[in-house]
Symmetry: C2
Subunit: 82 residues, 2 copies
């Protein structure tokens, strides 16, 4: 298992409710892929969303996001953290 930070662009105007619904959708299906989405942060002005997850692979992260209708634009493993 490893940590990943994924980034979504083009989400300008996203609301707190929409972020919560998207996150809950991910939580509802993530177990099949052995993924856990821990936190997410959104900047509605630039339309950027960051999701922090623990997962077996980048591909597993993307499969969850695709299944819930919001594929990530970038997925980075982040093995280092402080």
């Amino acid at each position: 298992m490893a940590k990943f930070m994924d980034v979504h662009h083009g989400m300008a105007g996203i609301t707190a409710e929409q972020l919560r619904m998207a996150h809950n959708a991910d939580l509802a299906v993530e177990a099949n892929e052995g993924v856990h989405f821990e936190q997410a942060w959104a900047d509605p002005e630039s339309g950027t969303v960051y999701c922090l997850s623990e997962a077996p692979s980048k591909e597993a992260v993307q499969r969850v996001h695709e299944r819930t209708g919001h594929p990530a634009d970038e997925i980075h493993p982040v093995p280092l953290m402080v």
Copy 2:
């Protein structure tokens, strides 16, 4: 006070020790600006570093990062989080 996610590019090969030293340098001077750097994550392969902070403004975040020699390439307010 607000939350910010800032992003550094071009950090390929960053080590755990370098990430820790950079974060500690920020912590040592952040109080002057009313900023607190909470967490940071790094992808040494793509050379991307993400820092999560609480700060009065984007400019205050950048002033701390500049003072410690690693200005951010992007700084996004992230008012929404789950």
